[in-house]
Chain length 474, copies 2
């Protein structure tokens, strides 16, 4: 990288490529693109460039590559790890894809749609719905995150148990490479064995190997019926056994299995209006179970009731409430979905987005909690998450706000304790959110030198000058 | 590569690594490892080496890499494209993984098993079954093919419609790299976003980037009930509409949707004993439909009957027979499964394993057939396959044996006509079987120069001396 990055000549060339008003250089205009939405990562860019087509992206990348200017690809800028924010140098250029927001094609008979990177996730869910199909990727930021970012971070969310991560939802990609060439890998094929699968290199690479400009996404049959229950269980281990038992009796209809501790619910009841405990007695742990079926008029409620009855007999469930209406269903989900918000209202906490094999979730919670309590006797652990995916959101704080802020300073030690247990159980220190700049140092401890070597070798092969999203991932 | 490959000193070192009797150098002993099972590809190796552990594979690869000897990784040697056969030089060494055949672990609560590359596919299906789980990969060669080969070729088969290709069935890999280092990527996680997804580079790379020695595979709930029907339809286009209609009414229960032309059935009736037409009148096209459900006692037969009734009303099905027993179900599947065998008994044919978007299968069949008939008026086209995956086995021959053999000489022109239509429809010239040596030249015509560049760059990065399965894929 050199100081030419912000040269007036380069800015002029960028303007000629994408139009004057799509190159933003003034402080006020740049600001929303330079900081993340949670206010945790702040940068300064030479310019924000907003191309409207693949061709424009390619021309912009060529111009920047020629002068070795660092490029920060950006979608809805909803990263939780600072993955889409420039550094503080003022020399990087943010390439924001939001103007590339066309659904290029929907092919219901092939169960696919071809979309541009800047499409907001919620609009894609809607586009699928208009063709009586499901695009199953669903997550908190869906109203503002963009599919290019979802692909680049291999986003998770609530549909993973049944449909997989974003990676599993893509058949083809179009990518502008770090030298400005365009790889047209927009295949819409269910089977294609003609060489290396390049698309999986770019999915989850967080923009460090190229800019994803378009994708062919899989569509599915829409779920026509659902049954939802909040189930009280004694422990994460009982929850694990309940999951196995449910799968035995209703198989792949289990589409949601969210573990929630009592502490989570108490926070929700305290901070979120119009929430209440739907069960009579408090329990240390709960599971939110959802079954789905793609056929109408099925007897899912009966199936779930029977399965929970037999789980109760086996001592796996101590109490349960089934949603009798869509309103009740939404109220149960609101308990789960408001945990993060309630916790935020209660004070800061040290968050971990980790995964272990599903079978080891109870052991992870037990061991991590024991280790933390030993060091921090008055710690408050808020654990919840996608148990069916082995993905636990494991957040640590103190119950009093003044203590909480001071406790935040202990992050390095808390992280170390949690991640060591994760590592012992062959888990991942970033299940859903990626590395960004947040975990770029941490990962060096937990990935083997060999794997880091391989990643660096691939980075060097595709991006020899290191201009694509510098400082992220590696 | 140099002439040291077969040096007595190297052979001795290999013997010291894996044991004397696991290095085969005599002509008779080498022969089954040097030729493919269909007798189409013949090679000559310096030696066959049969390591029994990852450590032994690593030592063998180190020894061979040091002297730049070409390495041909081999499992059950059931490739249809010559992917696991050495060249004729007598200088390459076949590293056969069949002795690495342990199931290292089964984790039913995580729905995974960790297996070694040399495990025969059918034994893995059985291992899953013993834990009341399904490992859904299923294909003709399952009694002898090995999972390392399935992974290296991203095998397809009959389960793809519901469960995806082999690629979708793997969570983690262990790979011996071309320099003999071992990458331990044996993660059993449903979510892990910590950098580039390296496993997808090795899956489908046909052994050209390293030797897969073990894998963590996904398991699923076992199907507890099935409903099967043979449906007469007027055309591939009617079949396509039937697929959409079925998915509308029974959603993801559609687990099999195989298109079969009348010519296929006639060949089966003629050559395979104990087969007969289960329907009264002949139809130009048929679909074998199967629904599956992971819950017992479901009413699948009723669902299928209703769905087919409403398809008949819509003019999409002209006749249908439902299997009333498991015997009848097997008899229906036997019609589909014996097409290849019947065709082989009838004479040689020019085969194509191609895919297009599902929505374009009718157009592919129509255009390819019209183009072929124009050039070869008496050609006989035998078309069948996994329509739900867009994967057509499109085989061309003549009805009389003497003409058939001569017609085989027209392969280049026939291939050209078929592949041009495939390419026009954004399809793949190898849907399931890979490239091997068979299609290594052909692919240069149909892949973009840029994509070939990227593949070569990755090959060079991981295997700079080009010793891994030389001459395959690239």
């Amino acid at each position: 990288m050199n100081d030419l990055s912000a040269s007036p000549a380069l800015i002029e060339r960028l303007k000629s490529a994408v139009g004057e008003r799509n190159v933003i250089t003034d402080d006020h205009g740049r600001e929303p693109f330079e900081n993340d939405w949670r206010g945790q990562f702040h940068g300064r860019a030479a310019a924000i460039v907003k191309p409207a087509s693949t061709d424009e992206v390619a021309r912009v990348v060529q111009m920047l590559a020629k002068e070795r200017v660092g490029i920060v690809p950006q979608g809805g800028n909803t990263s939780l790890c600072g993955g889409s924010v420039p550094d503080a140098s003022g020399r990087q250029v943010v390439v924001n894809l939001s103007r590339m927001n066309r659904v290029r094609a929907v092919d219901p008979a092939n169960n696919t749609m071809t979309v541009e990177a800047g499409c907001v996730l919620a609009t894609l869910q809607q586009a699928a719905d208009e063709h009586d199909r499901l695009f199953p990727l669903s997550l908190g930021a869906e109203g503002s995150c963009e599919i290019g970012g979802n692909l680049s971070t291999n986003a998770g969310g609530t549909g993973v148990l049944r449909y997989g991560n974003t990676r599993e939802l893509v058949l083809g990609l179009e990518v502008v490479l770090p030298d400005g060439r365009v790889w047209d890998g927009l295949r819409a094929l269910r089977k294609d064995n003609t060489g290396y699968d390049l698309k999986h290199l770019f999915v989850g690479a967080e923009g460090t190997l190229g800019i994803i400009t378009a994708a062919v996404l899989k569509l599915f049959a829409k779920p026509r019926s659902q049954a939802t229950a909040l189930v009280a269980v004694e422990s994460p281990d009982a929850a694990l056994k309940l999951l196995a038992k449910l799968r035995e009796s209703v198989g792949e209809r289990v589409t949601g299995f969210e573990l929630i501790s009592r502490i989570c619910l108490d926070l929700v009841f305290r901070h979120i209006p119009n929430t209440r405990d739907p069960l009579g007695c408090a329990s240390a742990w709960y599971v939110l179970v959802e079954l789905s079926d793609s056929t109408q008029g099925s007897t899912l409620d009966n199936l779930l009731e029977q399965a929970l009855g037999s789980a109760a007999e086996a001592g796996l469930a101590t109490d349960a409430v089934l949603a009798a209406s869509d309103t009740q269903r939404k109220a149960l989900w609101a308990l789960r979905e408001n945990v993060s918000e309630a916790q935020k209202l209660d004070g800061v906490s040290i968050k971990h987005d980790v995964s272990v094999p599903v079978s080891r979730v109870p052991e992870f919670i037990e061991r991590a909690s024991a280790a933390l309590l030993k060091k921090f006797p008055d710690i408050r652990i808020v654990a919840f998450g996608h148990m069916g995916d082995g993905n636990v959101h494991y957040n640590c704080g103190k119950s009093q706000a003044d203590q909480a802020s001071r406790f935040y300073g202990e992050s390095p030690e808390v992280n170390h304790i949690v991640y060591e247990v994760v590592n012992d159980l062959n888990g991942s220190i970033s299940a859903e959110h990626g590395l960004g700049v947040l975990k770029v140092d941490e990962i060096k401890r937990y990935k083997s030198a060999l794997e880091l070597d391989l990643m660096r070798a691939i980075k060097k092969t595709l991006d020899p000058d290191g201009i694509m999203n510098p400082g992220k991932v590696l």
